[in-house]
Structure formats: C-alpha cells, structure tokens
C-alpha cells in the first residue's frame, strides 16, 4: 500500500463504515427476507421463491410497476430535458450565480407543501381548471387532472428538477467553454457542439441525473398517494404498504428487489441507447492528464 493509498483509505473509512452498517447490511438483510415466508403475523426464515412468484403473478403488482416505470421514465425524461438547457445556461451563459442560488432556495420549501400546492393547482377548483373555464376551452371542470399519473409526473418533475439541474451543472462545469468554441471553430453549430462535445463528456452526469430521478420517482410513495388516485399508484406505495399495513415483509422485500432489477435493466437500456446514438463515447475515457510539473 502506497502512502497516498493509505491516506485515501483513512479518509474514506468513516463514510465506508457508515455505508456498510446502514446500507450494505440492511440491504443484505432485506435480500434474505425476500426468501423468508410470512405465516400468520410472524416472519419465518426459509429459502423459497414464493414471494417473487406471487409478486410477479399479482396483477396489482404488475399494474403499479408498469405505472412506476412509465411515470418514472416520463418524469426522468422531462426533468432531464428541462434541466439540460438550464444547466447549459447556468454553466456557459449566465454571468451571475443568482439563478443558481434561487434554484437551491426552492429546496427550502417542504416537499409536502409542494404536493399540496399541486393539489390546489390541479384540483376541480384549481388554477388550471379556472383558466381553462375562463378561456372557454372546457365548460365543466376537468376531474382528470388530479388523481392521475399525469398529476404524479408533474408534481415529481417539479420536486426533482432542482436535483437534476444541480447534477447537470456539476457535470457541465467539468467541460471547458473552450471545447465548445473549438467545436464551433471546426464547423458545428452551437447545437452540434452540444451533441458532439458537451453530451459525450457530460454523459455520466446526465445519465446520473436521469437515473436518480427515475429511481426517486419509481420509489416515491407519498406523491402517488396524495395526487395519484387509483390510476396513478406506483410500486413504491405497494411496497411501503407491505411493511406498514400488511406486515408481509418478505413479499415487500421481494417486490423491492424486483424494482431494483427493473432499475438495473433501465440503466442498461439507457446506456445502450446512448452508445447507439453516439452520445456516450464508446470507448472509456481515460484518466485526465497528469499535471505537468
């Protein structure tokens, strides 16, 4: 072990210990629960696939998982598409940091308050309906805005957009404006420079923002409960119910791991799509140049 490796090890130790105790160990416990059985109100150690099979066979689980995937993909895509121009603006165009701080400030408002705000906006007597009525586009309030997958997606987009912007900004700030100029100098438009230079170099951050949003949305169980109605339910809520209400931890654990698998598959698909379109460099980027003394 070189001295620098040792120093690195010491510095990483607290975080590593924390992750081990509060993430790895519980995850292993949860994983083993998924093979146990729940009989009566007790959980009995076992090694069976019953929980996985009954999860997959359950039409409810399939329906909410489908919902979670669709809402997750839509929200993550919309969030990423909205955060990229904002991130680009903040990194390369804006002269002051004010807008950046304003975006951070939105986190000061509570998650629940924002959900209620959307309930108000989308409800029968809400702003959206009032505007549509005023404009004569509809003549009775539209019930379907609230308690729908649409309501869940729009609320979660609002909640996770600042996270995504932050990740996009941090990915882009690694890419010098000079590279964009070099690309334009060599004949691309500004948009071309984005696809050929910014996107490939920011790929990890952009995919990170997409996947983070997807996972947070697919696992969210508060927003679907409050604005989702029956058509907007997602797996997160179903899993939460196994632990809170039904007390069937093994089934909940199995469902959680199935969701984890779904996320992995989506991640793989996103990577494959990125490679296919050339937005992600096919070969691995090597380490940055050593500092020349």
């Amino acid at each position: 072990m070189t001295p620098s490796q040792r120093t690195g090890g010491i510095l990483a130790a607290p975080a590593a210990t924390y992750m081990l105790l509060f993430f790895v160990v519980p995850a292993i416990l949860l994983f083993s629960y998924s093979f146990w059985i729940s009989s009566g109100f007790r959980i009995v150690p076992d090694f069976v696939l019953t929980n996985y099979i009954s999860a997959i066979r359950s039409p409810l689980f399939l329906r909410v998982t489908y919902n979670a995937i669709v809402i997750g993909l839509v929200t993550a895509s919309v969030t990423l598409c909205l955060s990229i121009p904002v991130g680009y603006y903040l990194t390369y165009v804006a002269r002051s940091k004010i807008i950046f701080y304003l975006i951070l400030v939105t986190w000061f408002s509570s998650y629940l308050v924002r959900i209620y705000a959307w309930r108000t906006l989308l409800g029968t007597n809400g702003l959206l309906n009032a505007v549509l009525l005023q404009l004569g586009i509809v003549d009775t309030p539209v019930q379907a805005f609230l308690f729908s997958p649409f309501a869940v997606a729009i609320t979660l987009t609002h909640i996770y957009l600042p996270f995504a912007i932050l990740m996009v900004v941090s990915a882009m700030s690694e890419i010098k404006a000079e590279l964009i100029e070099a690309s334009r100098d060599l004949g691309t438009s500004a948009l071309g420079a984005f696809f050929r230079v910014v996107a490939p170099n920011a790929a990890q951050g952009l995919i990170g923002a997409f996947m983070l949003t997807f996972i947070l949305v697919a696992g969210d169980y508060v927003t679907p409960q409050m604005v989702g109605g029956s058509s907007g339910q997602t797996t997160g809520l179903l899993i939460a119910d196994q632990f809170r209400k039904t007390g069937n931890w093994p089934l909940g654990a199995a469902q959680a791991f199935l969701m984890f698998l779904v996320s992995l598959v989506i991640y793989a698909l996103v990577l494959a799509l990125g490679r296919l379109t050339g937005l992600i460099p096919a070969r691995r980027k090597t380490k940055p140049a050593r500092e020349v003394a």
């Binding site: 100029e181 060599l186 004949g187 090597t286």
Partner: protein
C-alpha cells in the same frame, strides 16, 4: 501605417476596430490588413488585447464598432463555424472523449467528408506533425508538446485559408519550441495558409513572422518586418519591448537649419533623423542596440561616440557583455562577438565606445506613438 500595400486585396481587413468589455476599452482604433500567405504575429505584453483581437477574427467576440472583412466580405454576422478560419487555442482545447485520430478527423467529419478520404487526409496530417504512431492515444495520455502538435493538425487538416494560433508554444520548453517553430514555418510553406500568430515572446515573433504587429494597451503601436521593427523602432515602447537596448536621454535643440541636436549628459549628438516623430524642444531618447556598439576608433562623420569606464565584463562563449558607465554617468551595455586571440578591454579600463549613426534611433520620450 503602411501595411496592406500589396496589389491584391488583403485577406483580412480590420478598419477602425473598437472592442469594449463593459466600460473597459480592450481594443482601440485597430486598422490592420493581412495578406494571403503571410505569417503575421501579434506581439505585446500580457493583457494588451492579443487574444481578444484573435477571437474577433475567429468570430467568438464581436467588434463594438468598426468593420472586419475576410476575403473582401464583411463577416460581422458570420458565426465562427462559417468562417474560413481555424484556431489553435492557447490551451489546445482538444476533445478528451476522442483519441488523437478522431480529434484530427473532427472537422472533416462535421463537413461530411467521406470516410476513406477522411482517413487518408487525417493520416497524412498526422505524419506531417509526426504523431502517426500515437494516433490511438487519448488526449489525457499525451505530453504538452504532443498535444500542441495534435491541436495544430486538427486545425490544419481542414485546409483553412487562415490559421489563428494563440501562443501555441507557451507551454513548451525551449528545445521543443525551437523545433516546433521550424515545423510551423515548414507547414506554412507547404500549405500556403495565412498564419496569424499570437505571442508575447519577441524571439518567437522575430523568428517566425513576415510582419510583426506590436500592440500595447489595446492599440497597434507598429506594424513592420521583424528586422525593421528591431532596428527601426518607432516608439520607446517598441525599442524596449524588442530585445535589449541602451537609452541616452536628453533634450532636442535646433542646431541649424533643419538640424537637431540631442543634448545629453555625454554631450550633444547631431541627429540625423529622417523621422518626423521628433522636433525641437522635445524630451527625447537615443536608442542603440548593445551589439551595434564597439570599441573601435570613431569616425566623426559616420559615428556617434562616448568615453566610458568598464564596470563589469561577462564572458558567455561566443559573445562578451560589457557593463559600462559613461563619463557623463550614463549606464549602458555593449555586446561584442568573441574572436580567438582578440584582446578585449577588462573591468576598470577607460574606453572609447562608438556606433554608427544609422544604427541609432532617436525617439520622443512621450509614450504617444505613431
């Protein structure tokens, strides 16, 4: 300024160019014409506006007022990607996600050059800059000099009419720098491209250029061939910026009809200035290069001379440097080419120093330049 006097129209033409960043005046009254096939260097101290001027030509900045023509056409509304200009950036700006080959191929790919043709041209260019063997290395795995060569190749492969180079050698050590200077001159001859080269290194400027554009505080001070700029500086700034010089300060007086005399601590020097820059009653200065001075007997017709005492001698192989103090108290330096067996004066010797009248330039002391 008498640039752009060639028969054909200049390739790049700036007229009355001004550039402001907010309240800061970065470039003032820029008039410059660059001809096809020329190597022109923009030379000046740090912060004088060289990069800004280059970025205006490339299209990354716009003039606050004035016009820029490329090939006779006003390019104000032309974005960088539409200009027949390629730039080598001060810090290379190579694409880290691509290897050497793909970096060089970038411009051709964008323009839709067919694959085989592209491969052929990229490889030929990599051969020119001697980077063939490293064509599959990523940028992070290259040395500074190798990056520089890739940056040059990436720009040149597009066959630009104008290549803008922003201190491309600044990061390299002396040896590679000299090698790359030679390479660049060779490539320029081969391709016939017009080079606009930014540097704050006067040696680089003099070695490389057909003409030097000297800039100070956002203004063009002088545009000349290197040898003229060196031996015929038109301002004190130019004299001091290029190479080393001795300055004899004094006051100009009228000593006859059309005759001026510079009164210094070491007596009067008759001025044979053909330059209208100086006139009677001006504070002025005579600039003489150390290598133009010698210890031989002076000829009153052709030479200026002072008597001085040698304070110090530095022997440096091919040359010797003498630090002297004149009888009038003026400190100056003389540089002499060493010959085997030649007897040179030593410290403490009283010597007679002379220099040809036409090797000296009398310049006004005020900073106002041509």
């Amino acid at each position: 300024m008498n640039n752009g006097t060639s028969a054909e129209a200049p390739l790049i033409e700036l007229s009355n160019g001004q550039k402001q960043f907010g309240l800061f005046q970065a470039l003032t009254n820029i008039n410059l014409a660059i001809n096809e096939g020329e190597i022109v260097t923009l030379l000046g101290p740090s912060g004088c506006g060289k990069t800004t001027l280059m970025r205006i030509i490339a299209g990354f900045e716009t003039l606050t007022s004035g016009t820029l023509k490329i090939d006779g056409k006003d390019v104000a509304s032309l974005p960088p990607e539409k200009r027949p200009v390629n730039m080598v950036f001060q810090r290379y700006a190579l694409f880290p996600h691509l290897d050497v080959f793909d970096n060089v191929a970038y411009g051709l790919k964008v323009k839709g050059v067919e694959k085989e043709e592209r491969r052929r041209r990229v490889q030929a260019m990599l051969r020119t800059v001697q980077m063939e063997s490293l064509s599959h290395r990523f940028i992070g795995e290259l040395s500074g000099g190798q990056c520089q060569r890739v940056a040059l190749a990436r720009a040149l492969v597009n066959g630009p009419r104008v290549l803008l180079l922003d201190e491309p050698l600044a990061a390299l050590d002396l040896k590679i720098r000299q090698h790359m200077l030679g390479e660049m001159k060779r490539i320029q001859l081969e391709t016939g491209a017009t080079f606009v080269y930014v540097t704050h290194d006067q040696d680089e400027a003099m070695i490389l250029s057909d003409r030097v554009v000297l800039i100070d505080h956002g203004q063009i001070v002088q545009v000349d061939r290197p040898q003229d700029m060196y031996f015929r500086p038109r301002s004190l700034f130019a004299a001091k910026f290029l190479g080393e010089t001795n300055l004899f300060e004094g006051k100009l007086t009228v000593s006859g009809i059309g005759q001026l005399s510079l009164e210094t601590q070491d007596g009067p020097f008759e001025v044979v200035s053909n330059d209208a820059a100086v006139s009677g009653n001006d504070a002025a200065v005579m600039s003489v290069r150390p290598e133009a001075m010698s210890f031989r007997q002076s000829n009153a017709q052709l030479d200026y001379a002072v008597d001085a005492e040698i304070a110090d001698v530095i022997f440096s192989g091919s040359r010797s440097f003498f630090h002297l103090v004149s009888l009038g108290g003026q400190k100056f330096r003389v540089q002499v080419q060493n010959m085997p067996g030649a007897a040179l004066p030593v410290a403490g010797d009283k010597v007679h120093v002379s220099w040809r009248k036409d090797s000296a330039t009398v310049l006004p002391l005020s900073r106002i330049s041509s």
